[in-house]
Amino acid sequence: MINSQNKEVLLKVVNLKKWFPMQHGLASLFAKEIKYVKAVDGINFEVYKGETFGIIGESGCGKTTTGKLIMRLLEPTDGKILLNNEDVAHIKGKELKNYRKNVQMIFQDPYASMNPRFRIRKVLEEPLVIHGVGNSRKYRDEVSKQLLESVKVTPAEDFMERFPHMLSGGQRQRVSIGRGITLSPSLIVADEPVSMIDLSTRAEILAMMNNLKREFGLTYIYITHDLSTARYFADRIAVMYLGRIIEIGSADDIVDNPIHPYTRVLINAVCEPLPGKVKVMKDIQIKGEIPSAARIPKGCRFHTRCLFATEDCINNPEPELIDAGNGHYHACSRASYLPAFKY
């Protein structure tokens, strides 16, 4: 847990936007106005050094796009990304390469994120080669071996000579985590790192990531749709809906004391491995389907699905994040009129 006294901001995201145009090339010349899919539509948050920051939401809410923007695999349409107070939103070339040395990503699918023709040795030394770290083969081998040992894929010498298809899903994801920390980055963006891993090893990988965090002084951004692991793994959680953060706070506050109606629905929808629920219907207080990110509702963007929305929610401008104390913010202007939360 982070002590609130000595929080040091590692990453700050200011009014970040990513709009994908829907017309390209010639079509955009003739279009009256260019329509956009507003995948990320003005988000603000800070990530403190040494913490795990969870971003949760349903598919299509913009959580992966946010991860890619932070990784600078995408260039933002607007806004700032400050790493150690330096804006990296539009850097290019050498600067970008240097930035990527500092920020690494772990992908969801360990079957697709490795070149099938690379031996594990090569998978692990690739970042070193690209960034020109250590120019002797011996040094790179030594680093790779240590990495395999710290992600507990042992015996390391044996695994270095294998190809990815000779490893189980869990082992591959360990290797891909190892590859992520090769360059000792300060920030790791983990996009659903355990969602494709078997239940029995999922906990093991999360525990290992926690150990690495302590050992190497890492900071994680943990992107997931799974609230149960987010609560276990993350210190703070941001909940996204249609490209906006609608609630942000400590993991405990978000789960035990959610304010925004959408967060409440997410929490009530989670299944728990406890007895006595077979005959009870789940109370899901939401209506309709998620709107398209190309046609975001005006006013509060959740009003089309909210059971508590009034005329004001539609007519007033979109609410900004409101402080509820203790680092807990939400974007519901009618929060004080909502019934008490129960699960």
């Binding site: 029995s200 999922r202 006595g276």
Partner: protein, 320 residues
């Protein structure tokens, strides 16, 4: 209680060039009428293979190598392919396949897809009878009449899953197998589909088998749980017995403690070290021996047998 389905000593082996994979090896369980039985386990434990076996259609190179599957006093393992197609599949037992909602043919409307299924099983049925039946079941799964003429790409994931469930039900079979029906759906939609399945269970009194790897989903839906590991049934018990967390098989116990609880923060989750055994050459004794935290010498060489430790609670472990 009446039995909807009885499975005795079922074996399904895959005859691959590398050797015979004993994917389902001598399993027995039964399904009471009107109940939901959950099949849980890690990937590769044989739960989906079991589902396919119950329809009499093992995926090649798999073959049912022994045992019996009894529905309505008939052993369907003995049936020919033709009999299976005419008398068993969708007439007595149907299945919601894993990921089926993503496999709806894009050039057919929902109505055309469902009509085709109907005609395959009951040819010569008048069109208006089929139409009525389709609309009835679309409404039952919470969809409006106009979905009949929609194409799959016009539907959301949740709606497609509802269509697939309606297709599994509308020939009114006694038993439905649901293979990971909520995987790949968002939490909110998942909860809505689970509510739908509960509702259908109450209104139509169907017996069902719910296959998933997720113990948390299983707790919501299944009256009884059957835990599988490496092609064997490790434990069968009621929802209360399993999730009450008393007297469990070491494997179930570990799986449960590896599942995080939302409303209880834990500092360390436990996990199961190691990987499941190779099913071409499975271990001689208990298949969980290598990964078990409480194993004894006996477990290594002697295979444990099912024991009833309390009413309706069976465990396959030498500790009991």
């Amino acid at each position: 209680m009446e039995k909807a389905l009885v499975v005795n000593n079922l074996k399904l082996y895959y005859y691959t060039s590398a050797g015979i994979v004993k994917a389902v090896d001598d399993i027995s369980f039964d399904l009471n009428e009107g109940e939901t039985l959950g099949l849980v386990g890690e990937s590769g434990c044989g739960k989906t293979t079991t589902g396919f076996a119950l329809l009499g259609m093992p995926t090649p190179p798999g073959k049912i190598s022994g045992g019996e599957i009894i529905i309505d006093d008939q052993n369907i393992v003995k049936f020919s392919e033709n009999e299976l197609r005419k008398k068993v599949r969708w007439e007595k037992i149907s299945m919601v396949f894993q990921g089926a909602m993503n496999c709806l043919t894009p050039v057919y409307t929902v109505g055309e897809l469902m009509t085709e299924t109907y005609l395959q099983h009951r040819p010569d049925t008048p069109k208006d009878v089929i139409y009525k039946q389709i609309i009835k079941y679309l409404n039952l799964v919470g969809l409006a009449d106009d979905i009949y003429s929609r194409y799959p790409h016009e539907l959301s994931g949740g709606m497609k899953q509802r269509v697939v469930i309606a297709t599994a039900l509308f020939l009114e079979p006694k038993i439905v197998i649901l293979d990971e029906p909520t995987t790949g759906l968002d939490v909110v939609v998942q909860a809505q589909i689970l509510n739908l399945i509960k509702e259908l269970k109450q209104n139509l009194s169907i017996s069902s088998i719910f296959i998933t790897h997720d113990l948390a989903t299983e707790a919501e839906i299944s009256d009884r749980i059957c835990v599988m590991y490496a092609g064997k049934v490790m434990e069968i018990g009621t929802n209360e017995q399993i999730y009450g967390r008393k007297n469990l098989h070491p494997y179930t116990e570990k799986l449960l403690s590896a599942t995080p609880l939302l409303h209880k923060r834990v500092d360390e989750l436990s996990f199961i070290p190691g990987v499941p055994p190779d099913l071409i050459d499975p271990p001689k004794g208990c298949r969980f021996y290598e990964r078990c935290h409480v194993h004894m010498d006996k477990c290594k060489n002697e295979e444990p047998t099912m024991k009833e430790i309390e009413d309706g609670h069976y465990i396959c472990c030498w500790r009991y």
